[in-house]
C-alpha cells in the first residue's frame, strides 16, 4: 500500500511486470508420454537389476542358524514346569544339542528370539518411565503414571525399574558349548557387553547417583525401591559377575527395553569373542550345545523361544528379501518399459497426438 501511494501518477497502480508476479517464471514442464519416460524406465530397470544381483550375492555369503528350544531337547520338562506360575521360583536348566555343518566365518552374533510376544502393544510400550531410567531420584521414588499399574508394589514401595516392559524382562540365560572333534567341550566365549547402542548405555540409561565408596553402593542407590513383580532379584544384582553391568545400565535390561517392532523378534544376547582358538575365525564346524536356564514362560501367549546364531553383511543380518525386491522391481520396470515401447512404437512414435 505504501509503495502504491509513493509512486503516484497516471499508472500508479499498474502491477509490476516481473516474471514472478506475472506467473511467467522460467519453468521446466516435463510431459509424461512414452517417448519421454522410456529412457528413465530402462535406466531404472537396469539399475535395480544390478543392485539386486549384487545384494543377492552378498546375502548368499551369510549364514544363519535358528534353534527353537521351547520344547527342544531336555527343555520339555522346563516348558511344562513354567506352565504353572506357582513354580516360577524353582530353577530349571536344560540343554539343547545342535550341529553346525558349515563354519560361521567372521563375527558371529548370538540372539535370543521370541515369537508372538507383542512388545509393540501400545499400553505395554508406554508402560515405562524414561526419566527413572536416567536415574532421576524423583522418578525413582515416584514413578510416572505411565507405569501404572506397575509403579508400586503392594507395600506401596516404588518399583525400580517400573512398568510392564521391565517387569516382563526375558530372563533365560544361555551358555554355548562347543563339542570339539576330540570330545573336548569348550565354552564358547561370548561378549556380554557392547550389545547396546552407545547412547543407550551412556545417555539413556543411568543409575541413580550414589556415594562412591559407601557400603553396598548399588543397593544404597536403590534403597527404598522394590524389585519388579516378576523379578527374582533386584535390579542391582542383575549381573553377579560384572558389578558395572548392574542397575539400569545392565545391558540385558537395556536390550530388552528397546521394544521390538514386531511380535516375532530377536534380541542380541552376545557376540562371539574371537580371541582364543578355535573361535578366531568364527564358529568352526562341529557339534554344539546350549545350556539354558529356562525361566521365561511362553505358554500364556502361545509363544516360542529360539536362539539365533548369525553372521551379518554390511546391510544387516541374513535377509533375502531386499535383493529379491530389487530384482522383482527391476523386472517389473523392464516389463512396463517393454509395454511402453510397444505403445510408443504403435501410437506415439511420430507425435500423432500433436495433430489431434
Amino acid at each position: 500500500m505504501a509503495k502504491e501511494k509513493a509512486n503516484s501518477g497516471p499508472l500508479a497502480r499498474r502491477p509490476d511486470n516481473s516474471a514472478f508476479k506475472q506467473q511467467r517464471l522460467p519453468a521446466w514442464s516435463p510431459m509424461l508420454t512414452a517417448n519421454t519416460v522410456l529412457p528413465f524406465f530402462y535406466c531404472m530397470a537396469v539399475l535395480c537389476m544390478l543392485l539386486g544381483v549384487w545384494l543377492l550375492v552378498t546375502v548368499q555369503n551369510t549364514q544363519e542358524l535358528k534353534l527353537d528350544y521351547t520344547e527342544a531337547g531336555t527343555c520339555n520338562a522346563c516348558f511344562a514346569k513354567r506352565e504353572n506360575a506357582s513354580n516360577a521360583l524353582q530353577p530349571c536348566n536344560c540343554t539343547v544339542v545342535f550341529p553346525i555343518e558349515k563354519a560361521f566365518k567372521g563375527n558371529v552374533f548370538f540372539y535370543y528370539g521370541l515369537r508372538n510376544f507383542h512388545q509393540n502393544l501400545r499400553r505395554y510400550m508406554d508402560s515405562r518411565d524414561d526419566a527413572q531410567m536416567v536415574g532421576r531420584k524423583k522418578n525413582l521414588k515416584s514413578p510416572s503414571t505411565y507405569c501404572e499399574p506397575f509403579e508400586k508394589d503392594e507395600n506401596g514401595l516404588p518399583i525400580a525399574p517400573c512398568g510392564a516392559v521391565a517387569n516382563s524382562i526375558f530372563n533365560d540365560s544361555f551358555t554355548l558349548v562347543y563339542h570339539g572333534s576330540k570330545g573336548s567341550t569348550i565354552h564358547v566365549p561370548l561378549y556380554r557387553s557392547g550389545l547396546t547402542w552407545y547412547t543407550d548405555k551412556n545417555i539413556k540409561y543411568r543409575n541413580p547417583k550414589f556415594v562412591v565408596g559407601a557400603l553396598q553402593e548399588y543397593p544404597n542407590a536403590f534403597a527404598g525401591t522394590a524389585k519388579p513383580l516378576y523379578w527374582h532379584k533386584p535390579v542391582y544384582e542383575l549381573d553377579p559377575h560384572n558389578p558395572d553391568n548392574n542397575g539400569f545400565i545392565n545391558e540385558d535390561l537395556i536390550v530388552w527395553m528397546r521394544e521390538a517392532a514386531f511380535p516375532n523378534f530377536k534380541k542380541l544376547y552376545g557376540i562371539l569373542n574371537r580371541v582364543s582358538e578355535p573361535f578366531t575365525e568364527g564358529l568352526p564346524v562341529g557339534n554344539y550345545s546350549i545350556e539354558i536356564s529356562y525361566n521365561f514362560p511362553v505358554q500364556y501367549f502361545r509363544g516360542r523361544k529360539e536362539v539365533v546364531l548369525t553372521t551379518v553383511t554390511w546391510f544387516g543380518g541374513q535377509n533375502h528379501f531386499l535383493p529379491i525386491a530389487y530384482l522383482v522391481t527391476g523386472g517389473l520396470i523392464l516389463l512396463l518399459a517393454v509395454i511402453l515401447t510397444v505403445i510408443w512404437w504403435k501410437f506415439g512414435k511420430d507425435g500423432k497426438n500433436m495433430k489431434e
Binding site: 509393540n120 501400545r122 499400553r123 517392532a261
Partner: protein, 1489 residues
C-alpha cells in the same frame, strides 16, 4: 415513516446561565468516534476463539486434542497433541489480530482528523478532532474538506445557497452533486445564532438516497428536510468556499458507515464437492477405527482368561474386558488416525486462495491503463469457481458497451439528419484504432496493408470491419490522453465532446435563430416563426436545458461557472406564484422584457457583455426590492457579475465542462453545443443558454422533475424568455413519450403535420433502434397560466408533504407530462467495448452459455447482440412477446414443440412450415435461407437464439411456466432478455441457478445489476463510469468486459485445476500416511500403537509435506496462458469438473492404499526377523512415505520452477533437521515414545538407503506408468494443450488453426464458425482478396432476423445488377447460399425490422416524403458508407461498390418498400401479427423457390 430520532434544540447555547455549556443536549446520541475493530485487548482471546470455533473442523480437532488428556484413550503426549490445533488457531488469531490492528490504526487516523466545530464556550469555531464531534454540533466546512459526519446543510457561502459535494468515496461517481441549504434557513445571514428549533428525522439507515425529516421552528412551523439538504460523511466539499451545518448522524450512525459492510463469504463449488469427500474421509476413518476396535477385541479374546505378560492391566490393576478395551481403543484410534481428516487442509486452501487472489491482482493483462485500475477480488474464497462457470448473465449497457454515449444522429420535426460528417468523425477514431491494432496483431495484416492503397479502399476496409469499428471508442492513445486531461470530469472524452454538426441542420438552426433575433428586434410575436423552424430551436433548447448538467470551467478545477442573470428563484409558494404570474405583473413583465430585449446587443458581441434581461427581470427587481434590499439595484441591472469580464468569458466559453449524472445527458448537451446552443450556466433557478445570433438567454427554471426509472423520462418547467410562455420540456424513452403525445387533431393542417411528425419519428426511432442506437424522444408542452397554477397548487402540496412525498411527487409529475408535442428524437450510440465480440466468441467456445439481460428495447438489444456476436447470423431466433399469461404459456409450449420438431425430425422444412401455419401468436424468424434449411447440416440445439421481452419474462418467470421457459431457454444457444427490470434479472439468475444446478456468473456495472450480481454464484462488477454500486456488491470487479476472458479462461482454469489437484493430493497424502499406521495394527494386536513417532505423525502434515503442495497449488500451470486463450475449449475441463470427479477421490484413495502397502511392507520384510526396535523401523517408513509423497507430487506437478525445487528440497531438509534435532535433544522428554538417537543411527545404516531407493520407485511405478500411457494413448484436451505449449510458437499457431475443429469436436459442440470457414475461400477468392478473417467478420454481424426477405431481394438484385445475378445464381447452387444474400445488404434494408420483401400497398405520399428526406444521405456512395449504421456488412460494401448507380437505385426501392413495414411497428401487438403475416408469406415464397 419518520422515526423520532433526533429531537434537538438549537441555539440553547445562547442562554446565559451556562446550564447548557457543560452538557450537550444531544449527548445521548452516538458520538463521532468510529471503531471498526472487532476486538479489544481483553475480549480478543475469548471472542476470537469463539469465532474460530464456528468452524466445525476446529471443534473436531480440539475435541481430539482434548481426548488425549483422557488417560485410558490417550495416544500421544497430550501437550504435543494440542500443538497443531493451537498452531492453526493461533495462525488465524494472529491474522485476525493484525487485521484488527490495521483497522484500529486507520480508525485512529480518521478519528484524529480536524474539523471546525462551534464551541459553545468560546463562541467561535474551534478545531476539534473528528471523534469529538457530537450530534447537534455546528460544523464549519471549507472547500475541499471531507465531511466528518452526516451534516444538515444550514448555510453556504454560495449565493444560491448551494453546496457541491463529490461523492466518489461513497458511490464512485465523480460528478458533483448539489446540495441545498434547508429552506427555512435560505435567507438568513447568520442563521445559527438566533434560532431555536427542533429537528426530527428518521432513524439512521443505510440508504444513501433517502433522508426525510423536518425541522420545527419555535413558531411551530415545520419545514421538510430531504436528501438534498444532507451532506454525507466521507464526501468532499467542492466549489463552495464555506458551508455550515449541524450534525445529524455521527459515527457509526452515519450512512457511510452503515453502508460499510465487510467482504463476503461464499462457499465454492469445489469446496462443496470437497466437503462431500471430507465426509467420506470421516466414514473411512470410522470404519478403520471400528475395524481396529473389533480386531483388538478379538485379539484380546483369543487369549482367554490367561493374560499374557505384555497385556497390561488397567491402571487400577484390574483386567479390562475385551469389549471395554475395544471401546477405549476405538477412541484411541480416532486420535491416532486424526491425520486422515487433515487439519491443515483448510488452512492450506485458504493460503493458496490468498496467493491466487494475489496473482490475479498482479496480472498486467487485467490492468486498465485508461482508468488506472486493475481487477479487484473482493471475495477471497471463490477463485476456483471462476474455472467452473457454465452460464454468464451479462448486463448490456456499460458492460458490453462502453457506456460512453456519443451523439450519432437525430430527427427533428420528422426530418432526419444523418450526421454523415459526425459518422466519419467517429470512423476516424476507429481508423486510428484499427491501425494501431494492425501494428500489434498478426492476423490479417497482409490483406489490410494491401488495401490501404487508395483512400477509397482504405475506407472500405474500415467499413468491412464493421464489428471492430463498432466496438471501438477512440484510439487507445487518444483515450489515455483524454483520461489524463479530464481526470475529474466524466463523460468528456474528445469523441464524446467534439460532435460534428450536420450542415443542413446547422443551417436551419442558424436561419431559425437569426429569424428569431430579427423578430425579437422588431418586437414581433414569436409564434410567427415557421413551425418546423420553431421545432428545431425548441429541440435544441430542450437538449440544452432538459437535464441536470452542471457547468464548470476547467481553469479553476471544480469552480462552478457563475453567470448570474438575476432571476427569481423557483416558485416556492402559491403566493409567490400569484405574485409573479398575475396578469398585471405579467404585462409589466412582458413590457419590461420587450424593452430589455432591446437592450440586448444584437450581434451579441462577446467583447461587450451580452446583456439579456429575462422577461421576468422586472418582477424580480420588484421582488428584490421588497425582500432583499441588501442586494443593490446594480446587481439587478448588470446581470453579468463584475468578475466575469468579457475577456475571460470568451476565453473560457469554449472549454466549459459539463458534469452530467448520466452519459446520455452529457452527450446531448455536447451535441447541442455543436449547433452553437451551448449551456453556459446552470443554477437551481435558472439555466443560461447561448444561442447563435440571440446571445445568452436565461430560462427561468421553475421545476425540474428528475429522471426516474419508472417514468423513464425527465422534464423541466421553464419560462421561455422569448415567448414568455411556461414551457415544459420532456426528454425520455420513446416508448413512454410516444404514449404521452397529444393525439393530433385530424382536421386542420397543423394536426396533419403533427401526425406526420409522430409517424415519421416513430419510423426513424425504429431505424435507430435497429442500428443499436439508444433513442430518446424530445417533446414539449406549453402551459397556460391557469393550467400551470392548477398543477402548481398540487405540486407544492406534494413537495411539502412529509408522508409519501415521493409518491405524491411522482403523481404530480405524471399529471404534468401529458399531451406533449413531439419535437424530435435523438440517436445516441453506445459503443461496444474493446474486444467484446472476441471475448463472447471465445467464452462461448469455452462452452459458456451467455445470456444478456438488458433494460434496453428489443431492437437495440438484438442489434447489439449481433454486433457482439452473441447472436450469429446462421442462428434462428425465437422471439417471445406475449401480452398475457396465457399467451406466454402458449408461446412457450409452441417453442418447445418447435424446438423438438426442428431438432428431432430430420425434415426441418416441414416442421417449420406446419409450425408457421398453425401458430399465429408466435413470432419466429426463420433465419436460415431456403437452401440452407434444405441443406442437411446437422443443427445442434445450440443453433437457436431466444429473445424475450420484460413483460413476457414476467409471465414466464411465473411458477407454472418457469420450467417450460427454462426448457426453451436452455436449448437455445443465446438468450436475450430485453426491457427487464433489476428484479427480473435476479429472478432469471436465481431460476437458472436453482433449477438447472449450474454455476452462474453475473456481470454488470450499474445499480440495476446489483441484485443479479448478488444472486449469482460469482458476481462480477464492471468498475466503469456508472458508480461503484455494482462493484460493491460484486465478488470480482473488472475494469472492462474483455478481461473476463482472461479471468475465466486463464485464471479461472488455473485456480480451479490447481486447487482441485491440491485437494485431491491432500486426500491422497493423508490417506496414504494414515494407512501405514493402519497396516501396522495387524502386527501390534490392534492396540493403536504407531511405529511413526508422535512428532512425525503430528507435524508431517503441518510442516514436512506442507510447502511443496502449497507451491504447486499456487504456481502450477497445467497449460500456458496463451494456449488457454487460444483454445477456449480447454475451459470445459473445469465446467465438467474434470479435475475433481468423485471417482478421482476414490482412485486416489486406492492409489494411496497401494502406495502405503508398498511403503509399509517393503521395510517390514526388509526388517523382519531382525532385532529392530519400533522407532528404528518406523522412522525409515516415515522418511519413505515423505519421499513417496513428494515424488508423487512431482509426477502431478506440470511446471517446475525453481520454487518447486526449493520447496521440495526444503521439505526434505526440514524433515531431517527436525528429526536429527528431535532425536538428539532429550532422552526423557517425549514419553511415552523415546526415539533417542534413532535418526543418527539410521543414517549410518546402508539398509535405510537401499530402502530409500526401492520403495518410492515401487510405490510410484503404477501411477507413473499410467500417466505415461495416458499421455501417449488418450491424452486429455488439457494434455494436448500442454503438448502444444512445448512447440515453437509458429508451429503452434499453424497447428492451432488446423486442429481447432478437431479439438473442439473432441470437447463438445463444434465452434460455430469454424465449419463455415472452408467454403468461403473458394466462394470468394475470385472477387476479393480478403482473407477469411474479413469474411468471418462480415458474417458475424449478419442479422438473420432480417433475412427473411433474402429471396426477394436477391431476385430484385438480379434485375438491377448483373453482378448480383451471378451471385444469386451461385448462391442457389451453393449450399451456403446465405453468402450471396449478405452481399446485397444495403443500409437500412437489413437493419430495419425487416418485413420488406412483399409489401402492402404503401401510403405513397408518406413514403415519398420520407424518401425525399432520406435522399441526401443516399446521394453519394461514400456518404452512406459512413453514415450507415455500424452493423452493415463489410462485404456488402465491397461488392456493390463497382456498380454504384445500380445499387443506388436498388437502395431507393428498398427504402420505399420498407416504409409500410415500418408503419406497423408503432403498436407492438399489431406488429407481431403483421410480421407473422410477412413471415409466412416469405416463407411460402421460399419454399416455392
Amino acid at each position: 415513516g419518520v422515526g423520532e430520532k433526533d429531537t434537538e434544540t438549537l441555539g440553547k447555547f445562547e442562554a446565559e446561565n451556562g446550564l447548557w455549556r457543560e452538557e450537550n443536549p444531544n449527548r445521548h446520541y452516538a458520538n463521532n468516534k468510529i471503531k471498526t475493530t472487532k476486538y479489544t485487548l481483553l475480549s480478543f482471546l475469548p471472542k476470537n476463539l469463539f469465532e474460530q470455533f464456528h468452524r466445525f473442523a476446529n471443534v473436531y480437532f480440539v475435541f481430539i486434542a482434548l481426548l488425549n488428556f483422557v488417560p485410558v484413550v490417550n495416544a500421544f503426549q497430550p501437550e504435543l497433541a494440542l500443538a497443531p490445533v493451537v498452531f492453526i488457531l493461533s495462525v488465524t488469531a494472529i491474522k485476525d489480530l493484525w487485521e484488527d490492528y490495521r483497522r484500529h490504526r486507520s480508525d485512529k487516523e480518521i478519528n484524529h482528523m480536524d474539523c471546525l466545530v462551534y464551541s459553545r464556550l468560546e463562541r467561535r469555531y474551534v478545531e476539534r478532532y473528528w471523534k469529538e464531534v457530537r450530534v447537534g454540533d455546528f460544523i464549519r466546512l471549507r472547500c475541499n474538506e471531507i465531511l466528518p459526519a452526516d451534516v444538515l446543510l444550514l448555510s453556504s457561502s454560495d449565493p444560491d445557497r448551494l453546496c457541491h459535494i463529490e461523492t466518489a468515496t461513497l458511490d464512485g461517481e465523480t460528478n458533483l452533486k448539489q446540495r441545498q441549504v434547508v429552506r427555512s434557513f435560505f435567507d438568513l445571514v447568520r442563521p445559527l445564532l438566533f434560532y431555536n428549533s427542533i429537528i426530527e428525522c428518521e432513524k439512521p439507515n443505510n440508504d444513501l438516497n433517502r433522508f426525510r425529516g423536518y425541522i420545527i421552528h419555535r413558531n411551530g412551523r415545520r419545514d421538510g428536510l430531504y436528501k438534498e439538504n444532507l451532506l454525507l460523511r466521507g464526501c468532499t466539499i467542492r466549489n463552495t468556499e464555506e458551508a455550515v451545518g449541524i450534525v445529524i448522524y455521527a459515527g457509526h450512525e452515519t450512512k457511510a458507515m452503515l453502508n460499510n459492510n465487510g467482504p463476503r463469504y461464499k462457499r465454492s463449488k469445489l469446496e462443496r464437492q470437497m466437503n462431500v469427500d471430507v465426509f467420506w474421509c470421516v466414514i473411512i476413518l470410522l470404519v478403520m477405527c471400528l475395524f481396529a476396535a473389533v480386531g483388538h477385541g478379538l485379539w484380546m479374546f483369543q487369549y482367554g482368561d490367561k493374560r499374557p505378560v505384555f497385556d497390561v492391566l488397567s491402571p487400577e490393576g484390574t483386567d479390562l474386558s475385551p469389549i471395554l478395551s475395544a471401546i477405549y481403543l476405538f477412541l484411541t484410534m480416532i486420535i491416532v488416525f486424526q491425520v486422515l481428516i487433515p487439519i491443515s487442509l483448510f488452512v492450506s486452501i485458504e493460503i493458496v486462495k490468498i496467493c491466487q487472489v494475489y496473482f490475479i491482482h498482479q496480472d498486467m493483462d487485467l490492468y486498465d491503463e485508461e482508468t488506472d485500475s486493475h481487477l479487484q477480488c473482493r471475495a477471497l474464497n471463490i477463485t476456483e469457481d471462476l474455472g467452473q462457470m457454465q452460464y454468464i448473465f451479462s448486463d448490456k449497457t456499460g458492460t458490453l458497451t462502453e457506456n460512453k454515449m456519443v451523439f450519432r444522429r437525430c430527427t427533428v420535426a420528422g426530418v432526419e439528419y444523418s450526421h454523415d460528417a459526425n459518422a466519419r468523425r467517429l470512423a476516424m477514431y476507429q481508423e486510428m484504432d484499427s491501425e494501431e491494432e494492425e501494428c500489434m496483431s498478426h492476423g490479417g495484416t497482409l490483406t489490410r496493408r494491401d488495401s490501404v492503397t487508395s483512400h477509397q479502399s482504405a475506407r472500405v476496409v474500415l467499413r468491412s470491419q464493421s464489428t471492430k469499428s463498432h466496438r471501438r471508442t477512440g484510439s487507445r492513445a487518444e483515450a489515455k490522453r483524454a483520461s489524463i486531461l479530464s481526470k475529474h470530469t466524466a463523460f468528456s472524452s474528445p469523441m464524446e465532446k467534439d460532435i460534428t454538426p450536420d450542415p443542413q441542420l446547422l443551417d436551419k438552426v442558424n436561419e431559425c435563430s437569426s429569424q428569431l433575433d430579427f423578430m425579437r428586434f422588431h418586437s414581433q410575436p414569436m409564434s410567427q416563426l415557421p413551425s418546423d423552424l420553431s421545432d428545431i430551436i425548441d429541440f435544441f433548447i430542450a437538449l440544452t436545458i432538459c437535464n441536470t448538467v452542471v457547468v464548470s470551467s476547467p481553469n479553476q478545477p471544480r469552480q462552478k461557472v457563475r453567470m448570474r442573470f438575476e432571476l427569481k428563484s423557483p416558485v416556492k409558494t402559491i403566493e409567490d406564484f400569484i405574485k409573479r404570474f398575475t396578469p398585471s405583473r405579467l404585462t409589466s413583465g412582458s413590457n419590461s422584457s420587450s424593452s430589455s430585449s432591446l437592450i440586448t446587443n444584437r450581434s451579441s458581441n462577446r467583447g461587450c457583455s451580452s446583456v439579456l434581461s429575462s422577461p421576468s427581470a422586472e418582477s424580480t427587481l420588484t421582488k428584490l426590492d421588497e425582500e432583499r434590499p441588501a442586494r443593490g439595484l446594480e446587481h439587478a441591472f448588470s446581470p453579468v457579475p463584475p468578475n466575469y469580464e468579457g475577456k475571460t468569458w470568451a476565453a473560457e466559453e469554449g472549454e466549459l465542462r459539463y458534469e452530467a449524472e448520466s452519459p446520455d445527458e452529457a452527450a446531448l448537451v455536447y451535441a447541442a453545443r455543436a449547433y452553437k446552443c451551448s449551456l453556459v450556466g446552470r443554477l437551481p433557478d435558472q439555466v443560461t443558454v447561448e444561442l447563435p445570433h440571440l446571445g445568452k438567454l436565461s430560462f427561468e427554471l421553475l421545476h425540474t422533475l428528475g429522471f426516474d426509472s419508472t417514468r423513464k423520462r425527465m422534464s423541466v418547467v421553464v419560462r421561455h424568455p422569448l415567448t414568455d410562455q411556461i414551457t415544459v420540456y420532456t426528454k425520455g424513452a420513446d416508448s413512454v413519450i410516444m404514449d404521452l403525445i397529444k393525439p393530433p387533431s385530424t382536421d386542420n393542417s397543423k394536426g396533419k403535420r403533427q401526425r406526420k411528425i409522430v409517424y415519421r419519428t416513430q419510423n426513424y426511432l425504429n431505424l435507430y433502434a435497429a442500428d443499436g442506437l439508444r433513442t430518446l424522444c424530445i417533446a414539449k408542452k406549453i402551459l397556460t397560466k391557469e393550467e400551470y397554477a392548477c398543477w402548481l397548487q398540487r405540486h407544492l402540496e406534494a413537495e411539502t408533504a412529509i408522508q409519501g412525498r415521493e409518491e405524491l411527487l411522482f403523481e404530480s409529475a405524471l399529471r404534468l407530462e401529458t399531451n406533449l408535442q413531439l419535437l424530435g428524437a435523438t440517436g445516441i450510440e453506445d459503443r461496444l467495448q474493446d474486444g467484446v465480440p472476441e471475448t463472447i466468441a471465445s467464452l462461448r467456445k469455452a462452452g459458456l452459455q451467455i445470456w444478456v439481460l438488458t433494460g434496453d428495447k428489443q431492437e437495440t438489444a438484438i442489434n447489439i447482440a449481433y454486433a457482439c456476436k452473441l447472436l450469429e447470423p446462421e442462428e434462428e431466433i425465437l422471439t417471445l412477446n406475449a401480452d398475457s399469461q396465457e399467451a406466454c404459456a402458449l408461446l412457450l409450449e409452441e417453442s418447445l414443440h418447435y424446438i423438438q420438431a426442428k431438432f428431432l425430425c430430420t425434415s426441418t422444412d416441414q416442421a417449420a412450415k406446419t409450425f408457421h401455419s398453425e401458430f399465429a401468436a408466435f413470432d419466429i424468424y426463420p433465419s436460415s435461407p431456403p437452401s440452407s434449411s434444405s441443406h442437411t447440416s446437422p443443427f445442434t440445439v445450440h443453433r437457436l437464439g431466444l429473445v424475450i421481452d420484460g413483460r413476457t419474462l414476467a409471465y414466464a418467470l411465473d411458477k407454472n411456466l418457469e420450467d417450460k421457459f427454462l426448457a426453451v431457454a436452455r436449448s437455445c444457444r443465446s438468450v436475450l432478455c430485453c426491457r427487464s427490470t433489476p428484479l427480473q434479472k435476479s429472478m432469471v439468475v436465481k431460476l437458472v441457478r436453482n433449477k438447472l444446478k449450474v454455476m452462474t456468473l453475473a456481470i454488470g456495472d450499474g445499480a440495476n445489476d446489483v441484485s443479479m450480481i448478488q444472486v449469482a454464484d460469482v458476481g462480477v462488477g464492471i468498475s466503469g463510469q456508472e458508480g461503484m454500486q455494482a462493484v460493491m456488491a460484486s465478488d470480482f470487479a473488472l475494469p472492462r468486459f474483455q478481461y473476463l476472458q482472461k479471468l475465466l479462461l486463464v485464471h479461472g482454469h488455473w485456480c480451479y485445476s490447481r486447487l482441485a489437484n491440491m485437494i485431491l493430493y491432500f486426500f491422497y497424502k493423508n490417506a496414504m500416511f494414515v494407512a501405514l499406521i493402519f497396516w501396522y495394527q495387524f502386527y501390534c494386536g490392534f492396540s493403536g500403537s504407531a511405529m511413526i513417532d508422535q512428532w512425525y505423525l503430528i507435524f508431517f502434515n503441518l510442516m514436512f509435506s506442507a510447502f511443496p503442495q502449497l507451491i504447486t497449488g499456487t504456481l502450477d500451470k497445467d497449460v500456458s496462458a496463451e494456449t488457454l486463450q487460444q483454445l477456449p475449449q480447454l475451459y470445459m475441463n473445469g465446467q465438467n469438473s474434470e479435475e475433481y470427479k468423485p471417482y478421482m477421490f476414490w482412485m486416489n484413495m486406492i492409489d494411496a492404499f497401494y502406495q502405503s502397502l508398498v511403503c509399509f511392507f517393503l521395510p517390514y520384510f526388509a526388517y523382519a526377523d531382525s532385532d529392530v526396535d519400533l522407532f528404528t523401523w518406523g522412522t525409515p517408513i516415515t522418511t519413505l512415505a515423505l519421499f513417496t509423497i513428494l515424488l508423487h507430487l512431482g509426477i502431478e506437478t506440470k511446471t517446475w520452477t525453481w520454487m518447486n525445487w526449493a520447496s521440495i528440497t526444503f521439505s526434505i531438509a526440514l524433515f531431517f533437521t527436525v528429526a536429527l534435532c528431535y532425536n538428539a535433544s532429550c532422552p526423557t522428554c517425549y514419553s511415552p515414545s523415546n526415539p533417542y538417537w534413532t535418526m543418527q543411527r539410521l543414517l549410518q545404516d546402508p539398509l535405510f538407503y537401499m530402502l530409500c531407493v526401492i520403495t518410492p520407485l515401487a510405490a510410484l511405478l503404477p501411477r507413473y506408468f499410467y500417466r505415461a500411457c495416458q499421455g501417449t494413448l488418450f491424452p486429455s484436451p488439457v494434455q494436448v494443450g500442454r503438448q502444444l505449449d512445448k512447440l515453437p510458437s509458429e508451429t503452434r499457431r499453424n497447428i492451432l488453426s488446423l486442429s481447432r475443429v478437431k479439438v473442439g469436436a473432441q470437447l463438445g459442440p463444434k465452434p460455430p464458425f469454424l465449419s463455415l470457414l472452408k467454403p468461403f475461400p473458394k466462394d470468394y477468392n475470385h472477387k476479393d482478396q480478403k482473407s477469411f478473417s474479413n469474411s468471418k467478420t462480415a458474417q458475424g454481424c449478419q442479422g438473420p432476423v432480417l433475412q427473411m426477405d433474402n429471396v426477394g431481394k436477391s431476385h430484385q438484385k438480379g434485375q438491377s445488377s448483373p453482378l448480383g445475378v451471378t451471385h444469386s445464381k451461385k448462391g442457389l447452387s451453393d449450399p451456403y447460399t446465405f453468402v450471396s444474400t449478405e452481399i446485397d445488404t444495403l443500409p437500412y434494408t437489413k437493419e430495419a425490422p425487416g418485413h420488406t420483401g412483399e409489401s402492402q400497398p404503401p401510403s405513397t405520399k408518406d413514403s415519398d416524403c420520407l424518401d425525399k428526406t432520406l435522399d441526401p444521405s443516399d446521394l453519394s456512395l461514400s456518404s452512406w458508407i459512413t453514415s450507415t449504421p455500424l452493423l452493415t456488412q463489410g462485404d456488402s460494401v465491397q461488392v456493390t461498390l463497382p456498380p454504384a448507380g445500380g445499387s443506388q437505385c436498388v437502395t431507393y426501392k428498398r427504402n420505399s418498400e420498407e416504409t409500410p413495414g415500418l408503419d406497423h411497428t408503432v403498436r407492438p401487438t399489431r406488429r407481431t401479427e403483421e410480421q407473422l403475416a410477412n413471415c409466412s408469406k416469405d416463407h411460402s415464397l421460399q419454399t416455392t423457390l
